[in-house]
């Protein structure tokens, strides 16, 4: 418990920079609610198998499609697997894939955006057109192409989503860099002999970091939605691994037969995680003022 509690904090704390800001963040009720929900799912992802009442994979053909009861709080699915256990454990893969994919996209996008904004000129013109071209493609189509080419795996998902996010984040970072470019601290740094690399990393990056942080949390929400969508469509996390998106896909066919719990609970799980991230994002945006 204590381990998992400190786990999400260091990820955000160094980015949040000044301690007063961090404290203003923790005073916001929206942030606290969001953080609590996220924390809950992080705990599930780490310790899901030991918390879950049953094995998420254990089939019981004698108890298929059982309605929620004292034995199975969320009921069972078509194969008689405990829905609660599948929902709890189902957080694991999505919470591994999405942050890694978002980090990849943020790092690549920030680097690209810094270079575009700082160097400008031909590099910016060419890169901007490429970014627009990628953004013009429907992201699910791009994902399909990658997955078909590389085969569905967690690594593929991370790379695909990172690739899709890179131009989006690059565009935001570029705009933030342009706002810095007219400030005199940049010529001042050049006169101190700082090269392009150190001006970008040491001088500009700290100033655009709040925007990057907000962008990261926005994209994290999208990443969760994207992974769930791809899983639902069969291109994401593959059965029988418990996963919210693929569970919905597997069970929504029997929704008409009245077995609502098999679809509703994974759907609520996705919704709660996205809402939690959006709550955190909103608070971050307010605190960083971007």
């Amino acid at each position: 418990m204590t381990i998992s509690q400190t786990a999400p904090a260091p990820a955000a704390a160094p980015l949040a920079a000044a301690p007063p800001r961090w404290r203003r963040l923790t005073r916001k009720p929206t942030f606290l609610v969001g953080a609590a929900i996220l924390l809950f799912w992080v705990v599930c992802a780490i310790a899901g198998s030991s918390i879950a009442p049953d094995s998420p994979l254990a089939q019981s053909l004698l108890a298929t499609n059982a309605a929620p009861s004292a034995a199975h709080w969320f009921g069972t699915d078509q194969l008689g697997r405990d829905v609660l256990s599948r929902v709890l454990v189902g957080s694991r893969d999505i919470l591994i894939i999405t942050p890694l994919a978002t980090v990849l996209g943020t790092v690549c996008g920030t680097a690209l955006g810094l270079a575009m904004g700082y160097f400008g000129g031909v590099l910016d013109a060419v890169a901007s057109r490429l970014v627009e071209a990628v953004l013009a493609l429907p992201s699910v189509m791009v994902a399909f192409l990658f997955i078909v080419a590389l085969g569905p795996s967690e690594l593929t998902l991370i790379i695909v989503i990172g690739f899709i996010f890179t131009p989006l984040i690059a565009r935001t970072v570029r705009a933030a860099v342009l706002a810095e470019r007219h400030l005199d601290y940049l010529p001042a740094a050049r006169l101190l002999g700082a090269g392009a690399w150190s001006v970008m990393v040491m001088e500009i990056l700290p100033n655009v970091l709040p925007a990057v942080l907000v962008e990261f949390s926005v994209r994290l929400g999208y990443a969760i939605f994207t992974v769930a969508t791809l899983s639902f469509l069969g291109f994401g996390i593959q059965p029988p691994t418990p996963d919210w998106g693929s569970d919905i896909a597997a069970n929504y066919g029997v929704l008409a037969a009245g077995y609502w719990w098999e679809t509703l609970f994974p759907a609520l799980a996705i919704a709660s995680l996205i809402i939690a991230i959006n709550l955190i994002t909103d608070s971050l945006e307010q605190v960083t003022g971007s």
Binding site: A17, L183, Y185, A189, L191, L192, G193, G195, N207
Partner: protein, 704 residues
Amino acid sequence: MSETTATADGPPEAPAGTAALEISGLSITYRTGGVDRPAVQDVSLRITPGEAYGLVGESGSGKSTVALAVVRYLPRNGRVSAGSITVAGQDVLGLSRGRLRELRARSISMVYQEPTRALNPSLRVGAQVAEVFALGGMDARERQDATAQMLGKVRIADPAAVMRRYPHELSGGMAQRVVIAMALAASPELLILDEPTTALDATVEAEVLDLIASLRAEFGTSVLFISHNLAVIAKVCDRVGVLYAGSMIEEGAAGTVFRKPAHPYTVGLLRSVPRRGQRKDHGPLPVIPGFLPRPDEVGAGCVFASRCPLVVEQCRTSAPPPFEVEPGRVSRCYRWAEAENEMEEGTDAADTVSDAAVPDGLLTPSAEPLVNPPGAVSAVPPPVIALRHVSKTFHGGVQALSDVSLEVIAGQTLGIVGESGSGKTTLARVLLGLIPPDPGSEVALDGVALAPSAQRRPLAQLRALQIVFQNADSALNRRHSVRWLLSQPLARLAGLSGAALRARLNELVAEVRLEQRHLPLRPAQLSGGLKQRVAIARAFGGGPEVVVCDEPTSALDVSVQAAILNLLADLQRRERVTYLFISHDLGVVRYLSDRIVVLYLGRVMEDGPAEAVFDGPHHPYTEALLSAVPQLDGVVADRIRLDGEIPSAASPPDGCVFHTRCPRRLASGICETTPPPVLDADDGHSIRCHIPPAELRSLQGGTL
């Protein structure tokens, strides 16, 4: 109601009847962090119809807060906690929403510092001014005529053409005229001008001030004029109130207050402005020690007690009441009678220092013999910087610099003067390698040609040339601590690390009079003066030969400016550094400079020793610049007016570029056709003009 207050504390000279503005016992608080913090305390003033009242104070004194309260535009967390405000007989604080709107529409107009921000960028000038008349219920045709008439009244030459333009197509001075026209269009009882000329060039400022004075005579409007610039207030206002830390510490007729101040703060403020002819080798400028306290930090005593040279025990325990120095003249100082002597004594002291102490005496501070090479003061000092035929053309053919040649002698200060658009900043950036000059330009440091771009210059050359920017907020990376910022030049340029770096850092901090406790802070946590000290320290960290100072004090209050100028002069003495000092403030330039170059449209108009440039003969442009500066001592030379606007640098006028505005243009027409020669007025003093220097001198015999 107004009658009772008038008899209670109104100055005796004030005629009975309705005042245009009457503020009595006004206190304003701002709520921050859940606590009400006072910003203005017990301020009373009265402006009679047709009177111009000046409110002077440094930033943080509460002058703008007072102005905002008058129109009830205080920010959400601001609150009037006591007192009353009456405009033309109406109690502003008690007005209903509708009546307040009415009051803002008809009785009060405001003019702010940035004219371009006060105008809607997407509306043509004509439509914007006409809006005011529309509120007055005029129909479309009448509005057009009234607008044209109004623009004519603010001395806009071609109203019809200006009405069709958008605000971004106007120069700063023109835009401010339009704003003033809009303000006067409603024929308000009270016109509030909040630093209306601070963003303008001296020549334009002079024109706007003239305009305000003549419009006052024409319209009879009462004026509340807010400014940090004492000379501007002295020029425009009948009476003046001095605000300090939210309290009105002195009030009286403008002439008397500035000639014979009755409060030590006013004295300090007046003395910290470099006076006519005051130079760096006359000794440092007097400064007010300490910092402006926040109004809520002031205890029971006088607000100025912590910085006052006349402070006595009584000052710390009980706030002084307003003393009536003479009829209509009030000072909140127990020792007001002695304050004026302080002014005299101060002046004498400064003068005796300057007379007695030879500059060289100051040059050898006992503590630091430092790196003064014995051969430094040779007979003919070599130029450390030499610019030959430097031009810079930007995209679209805008020629920011045209064939500029100049030299800077080691250890001296070259002042660069000119209006905005004259190419001062471009010159600095070309020298530093931030902008490459046109091919054929030569920039040399110590006789060695410099690469056009800073990236191509070796470390030694980078170290030799540094800059202090105008705006420290922009020049200091807000994400880094002072320690990090100051370590940069030491690590990169001086090649220091570890203990040596820390030792030098501490020295550097002490040299610019910062303190150790400032090191972990970020720029936003420092005051304007401290930030500029950090910027200066950074420039000096690598041990530069030449430091370019680009308007380093123009964003600062006068008392802070004095301290920064002293610091710069002191550093120059000790480190024998050369300055290229860019400023639009001629008093400041004169204080620091050994030589002065006057730029107009990217061309050198005059170049000479500082004294010669100020004493004359002057180039007609220099003459106009000098006469535009409002003087505190009230000595008003015959103003040389410049007609028209500074021409576009993309299509400079033929012949002499200054002929379109020149008050001394020759009747022969030579100025319009032939570029003028550069003529020597004196040894090392040259003027680019068709009129020979001797003739210029006799023409200008009256001035200065």
